[in-house]
Every structure is written in structure tokens, then in C-alpha cells.
Symmetry: C2
């Protein structure tokens, strides 16, 4: 490792805020130096409790994350927050709003906040988000909260790649909105009924309980359902307690280890896929791709034989 990268890595481990911020940008943007940094940081990572928080837009994720961070801060735990924001504000600006809401945490030296855009992560948003988490983990955060909208496939991957997945539900949002990407409802470890002072909270709780009764988990964990009113801080201690309980359960059972191994198996496959394609693309001349695309667009040839021809010609000759 170059001396410069080495000293950068050391500053991150020593929790230098500037070094951390620069490293998060480097890994998020896929800069070549980001990879070197991650390699240097990796032996120091793996200690943080990574908490994925997901739910529909408007469910109150940011507020919950902010209050939960404050809970951990009362015990001087160091907290990282990664907000994966898939939205482009149309009127009003949700992004700015979220960041303003989290303002109570700014100026606190024990909190590190990073907003990630979802644009331009061709290499995979879930991988990029996890790389940012790795930086915060190696920098000594005890807890890293990862906030995502539970709609797109990428966002679901991010939520699943935490140590614990918390799903936020809200009463009275209407059926159209209270829906999730297939599979999200089934994977959460903890369910939070937020805005539980609204009518319908009981019903949401009962529905989750009914779903859990119908399809109990095979991993030995009985998911908790916690009611909160995040804006007023209600239920946050209960949520914190449930998170601690799950953490302890994961350590005692083999759940945490098994899950991390599965996650790394998936990520490793993704990294291989990405790197392989990067290297392969270098061999593919732009004009060959263009020429084939033009022929296909005019339906003079079909895309599958065109792809096979490109593969045979440039990647796997003789196959």
C-alpha cells in the first residue's frame, strides 16, 4: 500500500472526521483509491452493529433513525448513519427536509452522517452502500444505521445486508402505499408501527402478528413488534431494547455468523461479476458494440446472436 493511502487509513481508524468523509466519497464514487482504502480498512471492520431501517416514503424513517441515534449517543456510543436516498425531490425537497430533520445530530462529534444518491452506481448500489458502512465500521462506530426506502431491488438488498432489518409500518397510509417490494415484509427481524398514535395502529400490529403466525421464522427468532411515535421519541427505548435482544440472540445462536457468511457469499459473487465485466469491457471495442446495436435497432439482426458473436469474438474465443 502506498504511504499516502497507509496514512489515510490510519487517520480513519483514529476517527479523523475529514479522512472518514473523504474515504466515504472515494468508495461511493468508485475511485480506484477507494478500493485500496477498503483493503487497508477491512481488517479493522466487522465490529459495528449494522442496523437496516426500511419502509415506505413518508413512514418516518429519518426521524426514527435520528431518535435512535440519540438513544445510542446517551451511552456515548459512536453512531454512523447512511441514508440511501433514491428520490429526486419534485416539489418541496424530501432530501433537504431529511437532512434538516437530522440537524439535531450535527455538531455531535460522535455521529457520522452520509447521504448516498442512488444515481450512477452501475457497479451495484448495495455494494457501494456496504463499502460506506465498512468505512464507518473500521472508523470505530459501534452502530451503523442504514436507512433505505423499501421499494426497489437495490434498496431491498441493502436492507438485507445489515445485521438486523427493521421494517417501519404506519397506520392509515392506504393500501396502495403500504406495499413493499416482494420479500421485504417477510425478511424483517423487527417490525415498528410508527405514528402509532394514529387510528389503525392496532390493526397494523394485528396484521403483522397474523402474518408472523402464518409463516414463523425458521431461524429461531421471534420478530418483535414495537409501537413508536418517533417524532415524540415514544417507544424508542423499547425499540432499542429489542435491538439489543436481537443482537444478543445473534451472538448466542449462530445466526449472526451464518447471515454474515451468506451476505459475503453474495457480495463476493457481485464483486467478481463487476470486476470481470470491467476487465472484459476493456476488450470490447466501442465501434463493434455500436455497429451491432444499430443492426439490432433496425431489426436486421437479433440481439442474442449479436451478443454471442461479441462474446466469441472478444471474450471467449473458441467457445
Amino acid at each position: 500500500m502506498a504511504d499516502e493511502v497507509q496514512s489515510w487509513v490510519e487517520r480513519i481508524i483514529a476517527a479523523d472526521r475529514r479522512a472518514i468523509a473523504r474515504a466515504m466519497s472515494a468508495v461511493e464514487n468508485g475511485e480506484p483509491v477507494g478500493r485500496e482504502i477498503l483493503q487497508g480498512l477491512f481488517p479493522k471492520a466487522g465490529r459495528a452493529y449494522i442496523i437496516g431501517v426500511t419502509g415506505s416514503p413518508g413512514a418516518g424513517k429519518s426521524t426514527l433513525v435520528e431518535k435512535l441515534a440519540a438513544e445510542y449517543r446517551r451511552e456515548s456510543k459512536r453512531v454512523g448513519i447512511v441514508a440511501v436516498d433514491p428520490t429526486s425531490p419534485f416539489s418541496g425537497g424530501a432530501i433537504l427536509g431529511d437532512r434538516i430533520r437530522m440537524q439535531s445530530l450535527f455538531g455531535d462529534e460522535g455521529v457520522y452522517i452520509r447521504s448516498m444518491a442512488t444515481r450512477g452506481h452501475l457497479g451495484g448500489l448495495a455494494l457501494a452502500a456496504h463499502d460506506v458502512v465498512t468505512v464507518l465500521d473500521a472508523a470505530g462506530c459501534d452502530v451503523v444505521l442504514v436507512e433505505t426506502v423499501g421499494v426497489g431491488q437495490d434498496e431491498v438488498e441493502i436492507a438485507r445486508h445489515a445485521d438486523v432489518t427493521v421494517l417501519l409500518l404506519v397506520p392509515g397510509m392506504g393500501d396502495d402505499i403500504q406495499t413493499f417490494k416482494a420479500g421485504v415484509m417477510e425478511i424483517a427481524d423487527l417490525y415498528v408501527v410508527n405514528k402509532s398514535d394514529r387510528p389503525g395502529a392496532e390493526r397494523v400490529e394485528q396484521e403483522v402478528a397474523a402474518m408472523l403466525a402464518l409463516s414463523p421464522r425458521t431461524n429461531g427468532w421471534k420478530p418483535a413488534i414495537v409501537k413508536t411515535v418517533a417524532t415524540r421519541g415514544e417507544g424508542l427505548r423499547e425499540l432499542r431494547a429489542a435491538l439489543d435482544q436481537f443482537h444478543a440472540f445473534g451472538e448466542q445462536s449462530s445466526l449472526r455468523r451464518t447471515r454474515r457468511r451468506e451476505q459475503w457469499r453474495w457480495r463476493l459473487e457481485e464483486i467478481v461479476r463487476q470486476r470481470l465485466f470491467e476487465r472484459a469491457l476493456e476488450r470490447l471495442p466501442e465501434d463493434a458494440l455500436e455497429a451491432h446495436a444499430a443492426a439490432v435497432a433496425e431489426h436486421r439482426r437479433d440481439p442474442y446472436s449479436a451478443a454471442d458473436e461479441l462474446i466469441s469474438e472478444f471474450f471467449l474465443p473458441g467457445s
Copy 2:
């Protein structure tokens, strides 16, 4: 091509509903025979007008698509509908609801409806959706309506890979919800303010107009803004007229051709990526991947050097 596939292809081109339905399932599920069928169908495809309709959950996409289909049916045009449904119903069941709402179209021999789940499309949802569109296109549909939620990256890709992208907005949904994946707002060719009998419709229209004035399109097209109340069929003729206008513009200018060429360039790259990785994975022993994942999960080694080792060992020896 095998005789069986050949006769299947012929039946699709002759608009045999059963053959079409089976082909859509085959391509959606990535069955090997699906590829052969697509190759057989490809020379017949490329004639349909592919209309992407996107917007937040609850914006009224399904209703709009249903009414728009009815508009085209009045002129006996054959219509395909592909609804890409990323949601898992939690309470109430949005999926069932949508399909029930489109019931007015069932029994109409000139309409083909396909709901696609977003689960399990590791090869790329956008590609799979386009393959389904190709089947409907080759089967002689004059128009194919592709409905997606404008939130995840996959959904955005689907919307962009149409001939025309229609974005649905609704007044009064609140800032949290009226947000889109970065980039969606900027790519639409037509903007629909649906539920325009609600207060705030004017404001939405003005905001879109202001956005368009700030960043005019470079392709020569001035996006139309159409107000509708889809449930009552209001504004549907105006929308249809705007779609016709865009279609004519695309033919006269080089826009349609340029866009299709770009889309195929992207898809071809995706197909190459997918095929290359499929072939590569065959060479990667499961136990090697597992062993590396275990070492990484325990932070005994970093994932990047592990990935490089796997690549050098199994894919690109000597590189």
C-alpha cells in the same frame, strides 16, 4: 430452429393467445426455449408503439393505462399491457386490486395483459420486461403500454426503454411521496397531472412547466402537460393526441431511431454482461466461493483480493 419452436413462433405471429401467453411466461422466467422464441420473433418485432407509464404508487397508473387502452381499442388497435409490479401487498392487496380494476379489458380479444413480478430477475428486470414487450410487438400489437412504479432503478430503466415515457403526477400527495428516483422527472416526454379535479392541480402543472422552462430538452421536443381524471376518462383524448403527436415527431425527426439505437446499445451490453457471467459462473466451483466467503466474513481476508484471486484462478488465468 426446432420445428416445435418454429410452429410456436408462427402461432404467436398469428396472434394465438395461448401461444403468446406461454411465450411471455417462457421469456419472463428465462427458460432456454424463451431465447429461441425471441430469436424467431425478432424480425417481426419493432413495429409497436411502446409507451412507458410511470409514477408513484397511488398515482392512478393502472386506471390510466386501462382507459388509454380503451381509447386505442375504439379504433380497433391491438393493445398489449405489461404491468411491472414491484410491490408485495401488505394489507388489502394492490396487485389483486390493479388486476380487478383492469377487468373491463378482460374478454377483449384485442388486449393482452401481463403482470410481471420483480422477483427473481437476476439477469435484469428491464431486459426481461423488454423481452415480454418483444413478444407482444411481434404478435402484432399496435401499442404496448408498460406500467411501472418510478422508484427503483430497474423501474426507471424500464420506463426509459420505451418509445415514449409518460410520467404521472398527482396533486396533494405530499412532498414525501411526490418524489422520484433521480432522473425520472427529467426524462419524461409527456407529463400527466392525474386526479386533476383535486386542489393543487394548477400548482403541479406550473411546477412542471417551470422545471421544463429551466431545463429545456435538447432533442427538439417540447414535452406536453396533460390534465386527466382517469377514473372518469377525462383528458384521455388529449393524452392520446399528445401521444400521437410525439409519435409523429419521433418519426419525422431522427429521435425515435436515435433513441432505439441507444436503447439497444444499452441492452446489448446488458445481454453480453449477463451471458458472460452465466458462462463464467459455470467455471466457478461452489466450494471455492464458499471458502472465500467464510474467510471474508471473519475478516481474515479482504473481499477485493479474494475476488481477484477467484478471477485469476478460474476466469482469466495469467491476467
